[in-house]
Subunit: 325 residues, 2 copies
């Protein structure tokens, strides 16, 4: 197949800080990108204006009639609750002015092409399952580890969204019936392994006088240590940092064991910033997961890092429209 | 449709103590039953002999040629790990002589009709989702509470069995990353809410001198109190018994909240002996589940008792063969 004939779609990764646009082909290749700061828009109409302004920078025509033959569709991943079937945004957690927005309809009216809207983690999961290591599996669970902990479920080769498009909230699964409280419940995984929780654990230990390589990293402000720095210190053999990642691994393994017993996926695929710690995270994670599963389950599930890097979001959004989801 | 023309299937509920057989029609009506003690058979061949002996008692012909036009097939639910696709039994937890048995093949050869083999909880879940209250939902989770805690998942109107037919092991989901240990892991739900755990909680309190209506029930042996008796005492206002069911409800709500965040089913349907406690269990369970979910999830999930009673297993097994699964 000649490269010029590959089907293409516009992926829009709608983040809390930046909106990234990418023209992506059906092999997952990113052909062109553009972006604008989320804060420079005020609600859906001005957001669509900025998207329209980006089209020429992606080599795309701005008029609906000319755009339609050029792309298979538009896929938009957003940071919040959506109804995928209707392309409807219930609410975006950190972006004001986006409650109850029928974004797919608005975009279709503006651009004249089929548009799909999903939450960003489902889009990433779809990208990873279409073009990344998830393409090897029919049943897999995709997890992002960062400020929050998100999830996407691949069941029978399709993203499973539950009864109301909100499934996959792995970050709120409980790992302790008598644990930390949040508005989402008790003992939610994210409260133990989210970026802030990891950093806080280091800060608490430093303030308590614990010796550690992190003391230098932190200079005089224990609050400044990041998960990335803790991973680096762990890689250099720092005992405190290794302990912190071991605790993160125990917490993740607890939730993952529950997921494996419930769904028996072929693989758990992990992306996001904290996953970049590599073996520092994956070694204890695999060990603790095995320790928390009966061998008949442990032998049949893989734990592996996501393959798509920085463009995972963009590629996933485009995948929504490449009619593979 | 005349009653005589209803499609029928043979359901076989293979329990650790008894094997129950039932001729079930496509409306879920049980037409005839028979049974034999599991312990009177020694492995697959003698088990199939006993099944054959039961056929006349169900009004069915014993010869394959005559049997084939009479029933749509045979469905067998077993207490252990199976590969549903192949109709293969990996192992039965409490029945010796049943490791690596291709039971569907053996039964098809013996009886000349299509045979399906699944684990007993999946069969019950299918029965409840076909003929019980689960027929109202496309996405539901079925849970049995008894000696063990089992589960079955309805996803897009089908029982979901995971990558290797072992999904739905809700009893091993962890509710405490630092909790009770078992060969299956750490903090498994069943260790807190299985029959034995519930009875033990009462026994411990009685031995510690706690006053309770249960003291009379127990006579001089605290170990003799059953979950059924604790439910009765709770219904009579006994403080200890109410506390025990509140604790059971907290533990169940923790696991159910995780399930709802992960899968967002429309309903959680609960069967099995402990579920017969009725409001004594369901009232605190619904309250704690709401307390452990964000309202957007809590408002969209129902918690309700199973509708099929004692015949749930039989009906579910037959449903396997009525080609609705």
């Amino acid at each position: 197949m000649s490269d010029r004939k590959l089907k293409r779609a516009l992926g829009i990764d709608f983040g809390g800080t930046m909106v990234k646009l990418g023209l992506v082909d059906e092999r997952g290749g990113v052909r062109a990108t553009a972006s604008f700061p989320t804060g420079e828009t005020r609600g859906p109409e001005s957001w669509l204006d900025r998207v329209a302004q980006c089209l020429p920078r992606l080599g795309l025509p701005a008029s609906p009639a000319a755009l339609k033959p050029e792309i298979a569709g538009i896929g938009i991943g957003v940071p919040g609750f959506t109804d995928f079937e209707r392309g409807f945004i219930y609410e975006l957690t950190n972006v004001p002015g986006w409650a109850a927005v029928p974004l797919a309809d608005l975009a279709e009216r503006r651009f004249g092409v089929r548009t799909f809207v999903d939450n960003d983690v489902n889009a990433m999961a779809l990208g990873e399952c279409t073009f990344g290591c998830g393409r090897l599996y029919h049943h897999a669970v995709f997890v992002t580890l960062g400020t929050g902990v998100g999830g996407g479920l691949l069941i029978h080769n399709k993203i499973y969204r539950g009864a109301h498009s909100m499934a996959g909230e792995i970050g709120h699964m409980s790992i302790d019936f008598d644990g930390l409280r949040s508005p989402q419940g008790v003992g939610g995984l994210e409260l133990y392994v989210g970026n802030r929780a990891i950093a806080q654990r280091a800060a608490d230990a430093l303030r308590a006088g614990r010796s550690s390589l992190l003391r230098e990293t932190a200079a005089n402000d224990p609050e400044r240590v990041t998960p990335r720095e803790i991973a680096a210190a762990a890689a250099a053999g720092d005992a405190l940092s290794l302990e912190i990642f071991d605790f993160v691994a125990v917490c993740l393994a607890t939730a993952f064991a529950s997921i494996v017993y419930l769904l028996q996926p072929q693989a758990i695929i992990i992306g996001g910033g904290v996953a970049q710690a590599g073996d520092i995270l994956f070694d204890p994670l695999r060990r603790h997961l095995r320790d928390r599963l009966s061998p008949v389950f442990a032998d049949r599930v893989e734990v592996r890092p996501a393959e798509l890097g920085n463009d995972a979001g963009l590629i996933g959004c485009a995948a929504l429209a490449l009619s593979i989801g």
